[in-house]
């Protein structure tokens, strides 16, 4: 199941019910075209030795760090996922801003036994943070500058931090993510 690329990031602002931990999403949106994605998971890494041997171990995922690489820095999108205020096109960043929880989906094209497949992956809860920033003047050698948005992987109350499914078409994989992030009917 070789991976042959990355496409179609989708995110949705998430609301967590403080009493039950239930998550509702506000509808899938595209932050930009997908350039890269990285995730490092943190694990409990707890071990218990007894009778001079390993008696118990727990490698449960407890969270993680993610990095979203995209081709653009759309101010409206970034204001939404970083919790900034936007008024008539102007974004104001304030130290009191709190980034909302978001669900994050992506599609990984695969080659399986000479067949194209598409794996949809949904991370139930993430929280992005301010990226570092730098600019360089244009030179004789072109370097296309893309954007990397760092974030945290959050573990939901029910423990279901990731969902994945493989589809025959990219459209079906995108529909799976869009459906999961659909806003509840009013």
């Amino acid at each position: 199941m070789a991976k042959i690329g990355l496409e179609n990031f989708l995110y949705a602002v998430a609301t967590v019910n403080p009493a039950t931990g239930a998550i509702t999403y506000g509808g899938a949106k595209k932050p930009g075209k997908a350039v890269s994605f990285n995730m490092t998971v943190n694990k409990a890494d707890a071990t218990l030795y007894a009778d001079d041997g390993l008696a118990e171990s727990d490698d449960a995922v407890t969270g993680g760090d993610i990095t979203l690489g995209i081709d653009r820095y759309d101010l409206t999108t970034m204001a939404e996922i970083l919790g900034h205020t936007i008024t008539e096109g102007e974004v104001v960043d304030n130290t009191a801003d709190v980034a909302p929880y978001v669900g994050l989906g992506r599609i990984t094209p695969l080659m399986v036994d000479n067949q194209r497949k598409f794996r949809a992956t949904i991370l139930a809860l993430c929280q992005f943070s301010e990226p570092d920033d730098s600019d360089t003047t244009r030179g004789e050698t072109v370097e296309f500058g893309t954007y990397e948005i760092p974030g945290k992987l959050i573990i939901p109350t029910n423990g279901e931090w990731r969902k994945r499914q493989v589809f025959d078409t990219a459209a079906a994989a995108a529909a799976y993510i869009t459906s999961a992030f659909a806003a509840p009917n009013p």
Binding site: L6, E7, V35, P109, E140, V142, E143, F144
Partner: protein, 119 residues
């Protein structure tokens, strides 16, 4: 819609003249007679940007060859000024030194420019 760089070049050099002399600027080859003249062609391309598993943009490089039997330096500067104003980026390290061709009597200089092209 994808940009046609040749159309941009043709438009940029429509009625091009230096010091009162009209200078034809043609793609690949100049079939006319007399001088000075300029021919251009795509040299190569690199530095691609991809996203969503598709090519989004890349850099194309164009050579502009200036031919003249007289002082070609004002023409070189005029070509550079026109193309920079049109959004091209001059590439000194990809351009040639000053050349003279004894068999034809032409002074010749190749100027290279970069153009960022979205897909």
């Amino acid at each position: 819609m994808t940009e046609n760089i040749n159309e941009i070049i043709e438009s940029t050099f429509n009625g091009f003249s230096v010091g009162g002399t009209e200078i034809p600027v043609r793609f690949m080859y100049y079939f006319g007679h007399g001088e000075p003249y300029v021919v251009y062609s795509q040299a190569d391309a690199d530095s691609s940007l991809s996203g969503d598993n598709e090519l989004l943009a890349y850099a194309e490089y164009y050579d502009f060859d200036v031919y003249s039997k007289g002082n070609f330096l004002p023409i070189v500067e005029a070509v550079k000024a026109k193309l920079i104003a049109a959004g091209f980026f001059f590439e000194p390290s990809r351009s040639s030194e000053d050349m003279y061709e004894p068999d034809t009597g032409y002074f010749h200089k190749t100027l290279n420019f970069q153009y960022l092209k979205g897909v």
